[in-house]
């Protein structure tokens, strides 16, 4: 019986192999000549279809960045170490040979890294990866004549290929360059990060998996909105694929294609008129000796949504030309044109912080609007003398804000206590991440204040306090709107190529519980600041119905000040909140910062009034 079972087993195997042989004959004889197989084996039947990166626009559609067709000059991998193409490309495009050499080395290093990673992953040796069969762009955006010359006589340019690519165009490159940000070829760190996140596409993967994945030669948003909204802007590649579907009994030709999805257009909350007015105000100020302005920022936000309407920084640059001036810009270390001051410069605020001190005093019950203190220009606390800007006599809260009396706020702060002062500052978002949709936000800090001198320093915004202009404007917005601390944002909406809105910003806020009496007292005090007796009286802001607070933070090291003016307007029905800062100036908030705001408001005031 067992012998019979051996026969059965071997017989079954014999039968199985007969079936396999039959199948092999079916595939290799019957199906072999049915198709032009080279069509399916060569890569030509399969290719990727490039997509177009979305544009970045202001609120009402002024283009800030958009994609236009361009030609890239690429060199096939095996030719990269050779010298011939470098000679030719250098002559054609006027790029120095060392630059090309360096670029070639970079590509080779990167491909080697991919190859080693594949070897490590698979445990195989001497792997040849698909990147080694491709041409890699060495010069982006070559002139059309160069592209035409190479295409007309490819045999004269061995190894060189022209790729149809695209380049970023900046029709308003100077309007908000930091906000727009840049797009770069993936650098090694970015590529590593992409790989770590599993978002890379390598030749070993089916075409269909390309989608939104990155190839080694791809570009990626590296700063500003280009980085923040990379996923929306980028789009998805499409592909065309022809293949044979082998079934049990029949084989079919299949053609499959997926069209590319263009990237979405991103619309920002920035208004062209506001942003332009802010830029020009800073520009003009830098030309006025009496303002002694050489670096600073101006931010305007919508108090009813947290939308950033203007974010100007000085000095700045133009996206469409800065590459040529790169060395010059980079050299200006002190003024740092690449620094986006509204969210990246954290500075002591000076007396602007008195608004917080007043709120803390009122909310903690340490003072009432009617509480008075007397100012004799000088006051001694725990054996140390602290000073005021003048001898203000006996005054109540409103007047103290109006005239920015230090002594009044020393008393208020000591009555409320250091922890309350810190708490209320942070509650209004100072020294905290605003959550703004901008990569690399500087947080700043509101220090803990326990010792008397720390409390006194914090009361008038000196010492270790550091805030960004955006934080200050956002805090003023919360005062104006009755305690809603919005998450400020640059993003308004994104629409796809059909014009449908695919994502929209909804206002998000944290509510700060405040008493109505607190709000009305602080608001009234700030209204007086720009009036006849206030610290900003010389800035001629009365007709803009501005409520605000000046600040002058003294720098012990340099003897220079950071001059601030922050607030909101119009005071009876607030629409915008703002913060202006002039860094390292000889002047004061009222004399050197408030006039800059005036210059900006002059241009846009009608628009502010008309804002819904």
């Amino acid at each position: 019986m067992l012998s019979r079972r051996v026969y059965i087993l071997v017989g079954l195997f014999g039968l199985a192999f007969l079936v396999l042989l039959g199948r092999l004959a079916q595939v290799q004889i019957l199906w072999h000549d049915r198709f032009d197989l080279s069509r399916y084996t060569r890569a030509s039947g399969n290719h990727l279809v490039e997509t177009v990166r979305g544009g970045i626009y202001t609120r009402w559609g002024t283009p800030l960045a958009r994609q236009v067709p361009a030609f890239d000059l690429a060199v096939s991998y095996d030719d990269l170490p050779k010298d011939e193409w470098k000679e030719q490309v250098s002559r054609l495009c006027g790029v120095p040979r060392e630059k090309l050499e360096e670029k070639a080395q970079r590509i080779i290093r990167r491909v080697e890294r991919i190859r080693r990673a594949v070897e490590k992953r698979t445990g195989m040796e001497r792997v040849r990866v698909v990147e080694q069969n491709q041409a890699h762009p060495v010069v982006r955006d070559v002139p059309p004549e160069v592209a035409a010359a190479v295409r007309a006589a490819p045999e004269a340019f061995p190894g060189i290929v022209i790729h149809e690519g695209a380049r970023r165009e900046y029709p308003n490159g100077a309007l908000a360059p930091h906000v727009v940000g840049g797009v770069n070829d993936l650098n090694p760190e970015q590529w590593k990060k992409v790989c770590r996140e599993g978002r890379q596409w390598t030749g070993g993967m089916p075409l269909s998996q390309i989608g939104a994945r990155y190839k080694m030669d791809d570009r990626i948003g590296s700063s500003g909105m280009e980085k923040e909204y990379e996923d929306l802007l980028r789009g998805r590649r499409g592909y065309v694929r022809n293949y044979l579907a082998f079934g049990l009994l029949k084989v079919e030709k299949v053609s499959r294609e997926a069209p590319p999805e263009p990237g979405c257009d991103v619309y920002l909350t920035l208004r062209e008129d506001f942003q332009r007015a802010a830029n020009e105000a800073l520009q003009r100020a830098s030309g006025m000796p009496q303002l002694d302005f050489d670096r600073g920022a101006l931010v305007i936000v919508d108090v009813r949504s947290g939308a950033v309407l203007a974010a100007a920084t000085f000095p700045s640059y133009d996206l469409s030309t800065y590459r040529e001036r790169l060395d010059e810009i980079a050299k200006d270390k002190e003024r740092a044109p690449f620094l986006f001051r509204p969210v990246q410069a954290a500075l002591p605020t000076g007396s602007v912080y008195k608004v917080i001190t007043a709120i803390a005093g009122l909310e903690e019950g340490a003072i009432t609007p009617a509480t008075t203190f007397t100012c004799h220009r000088r006051e001694v606390f725990e054996g140390r003398a602290f000073h005021c800007t003048g001898s203000h006599g006996t005054l109540a809260l409103l007047e103290a804000i109006e005239r920015s009396c230090n002594i009044y706020f020393y008393h208020t702060a000591l009555a409320a206590g250091g922890p309350a002062l810190t708490r209320w500052g942070r509650r209004f978002g100072l020294g905290m991440p605003t959550g703004v949709d901008f990569p690399f936000e500087t947080t700043g800090r509101v220090p803990e204040a326990h010792a008397t001198f720390q409390v006194i320093n914090l009361a008038i915004g000196q010492g270790k306090l550091l805030c960004t202009p955006l934080q200050v404007a956002n805090m003023m917005a919360a005062v104006a709107n009755g305690g809603r601390l919005y998450r400020p944002h640059f993003f308004h909406h994104a629409s796809n190529s059909e014009g449908e809105i695919v994502r929209e910003q909804r206002p998000q806020f944290k509510r700060i519980a405040l008493h109505e009496t607190t709000l009305s007292a602080v608001r009234e005090g700030m209204r007086l600041v720009a009036q006849k007796r206030g610290t900003a009286r010389h800035a001629d802001l009365e007709r803009f119905r501005v409520a605000g607070k000046t600040g002058t933070a003294e720098q012990e090291a340099s003897g220079l000040n950071h001059a601030w003016f922050a607030g909101y307007a119009p005071y009876e029905n607030p629409k915008i909140a703002f913060a202006v800062v002039s860094e390292s100036t000889t002047g004061h908030g009222g004399s050197h910062a408030a006039p800059i705001l005036g210059m900006a408001l002059e241009r846009i005031w009608d628009e502010v009034e008309r804002m819904q």
């Binding site: 199948r23 004959a25 084996t41 195989m124 082998f246």
Partner: protein, 377 residues
């Protein structure tokens, strides 16, 4: 002294009985494999394959002169050792590649303990089934099912579904030849399928890619752009492109383009088919069939139950894995990640196969006791 040692190792070995076709056929298939490892991967790897083949011949010779009957009784211990080695992969000594923990690094190559496991299971099962005559009761199958299941489990979690699957034909082959009632075997097959279904629906047991492979096999249109469908299609395209004459060694377009995945291991058959064409590939398959028939002959001629079951187990393992590897390449079975025995690159697999063949040779060269008796079950 030396003679005594040899005697205790080899017993009464009969050199005259050496089954020459066994090593010769194996060597022929190994060389074919080396040629295509060369064309699909590299000369260096092909050379390594040949070096392993040389070691394999030594292993074969040692196993052949070794008196296999000495194993009887210690097979369970050997199997336990194998289980421990598999479990030890999870210690820091184990090496992870391609997201699977299957290897030990011993310096000059990676040892894959799941490969010898197939042979150790065949021995343990053969030892069990030879010692009793009747296998009418289901509970007699508890022990063999348990040891098979334990091995499978440890290999599945590496994860290595393909190799784990190969323990099943070992079990069924030995049990079938061992005389287990057909009714019970059918019952087990049904149970196995049910278990597979349960594994499918229990989250976490099967990896998504394994499911994708199965789905794409059953219904290629379900997701024609998945990696699984792509791999299967590229493999078929390679076979089809081969035609009757083949594209010539080293000239397979799909092979050169690297479009056939894992070409020197799991998909070496499509490479052979593309470059060699129908005639020569068919010839290779005939060699494999001869080898299976010859193993069947050795099984049949052997009257000693342990030896016969060992030979049967090796036959079943080699036959089934060869069949399934080719069936996958021809679009008959879902991708399970299986090597072609002897031909695919992989030292552990090659040495295990040679050791198995050596033991089969041993069963023929040491049959002085039961030889010529005519008793049969």
């Amino acid at each position: 002294m030396l003679r005594k040692l040899l005697k205790s190792f080899a017993g009464d070995v009969s050199w005259r009985r050496m089954p020459w076709p066994l090593p010769l056929l194996a060597l022929a298939l190994t060389l074919i494999g080396a040629a295509f490892i060369w064309s699909s991967h590299s000369e260096a790897l092909a050379l390594k394959h040949c070096i392993f083949a040389l070691i394999g011949i030594v292993v074969f010779a040692l196993a052949a002169i070794f008196d296999y009957r000495r194993l009887s009784g210690v097979t369970f211990l050997l199997y336990l050792l194998g289980i421990l080695t598999l479990a030890g992969l999870w210690s820091p000594l184990g090496v992870t590649r391609n997201y699977a923990r299957r290897w030990y690094d011993v310096g000059f190559f990676l040892v894959q303990p799941s490969e010898p496991m197939k042979l150790l299971l065949a021995l343990a099962l053969a030892d069990y089934f030879r010692s009793q005559r009747r296998w009418q009761r289901l509970r007699d199958l508890v022990y063999p099912i348990t040891i098979t299941g334990a091995g499978m489990f440890l290999i599945v979690i590496e994860p290595d579904f393909g190799t784990a699957l190969m323990l099943a034909p070992v079990f069924f082959g030995v049990a079938f030849l061992g005389g287990v009632r057909m009714r019970n075997l059918v019952l087990l097959v049904v149970l196995g399928v049910a278990l597979l279904c349960a594994a499918w629906f229990t989250p976490g047991v099967m990896r998504p890619y394994q499911k994708a492979r199965l789905i794409s096999f059953i219904n290629p249109e379900a997701n024609p752009e998945s990696s699984a469908a792509y791999n299967a299609e590229q493999a078929m395209l390679a076979v089809c492109a081969g035609g009757v004459k083949g594209q010539g060694w080293g000239r397979g377009v799909l092979n050169r383009l690297g479009r056939v995945p894992e070409r020197h291991t799991d998909f070496i058959f499509p490479v052979i088919a593309e470059e060699w064409g129908l005639v020569r590939t068919g010839g290779m398959m005939l060699l494999q069939t001869f080898l299976i028939f010859y193993l069947g002959l050795l099984t049949l001629r052997n009257r000693e139950p342990f030896g016969r079951l060992v030979a049967g187990g090796v036959l079943s393992l080699f036959g089934f894995q060869t069949f399934l590897h080719i069936a996958i390449g021809l679009g008959f079975a879902p991708i399970t990640g299986l090597t072609l025995p002897l031909a695919s690159y992989g030292g552990s697999s090659l040495l295990t196969t040679y050791a198995g063949f050596g033991l089969v040779a041993s069963t023929r060269m040491h049959r002085d006791i039961v030889f010529s008796d005519a008793t049969t079950g």
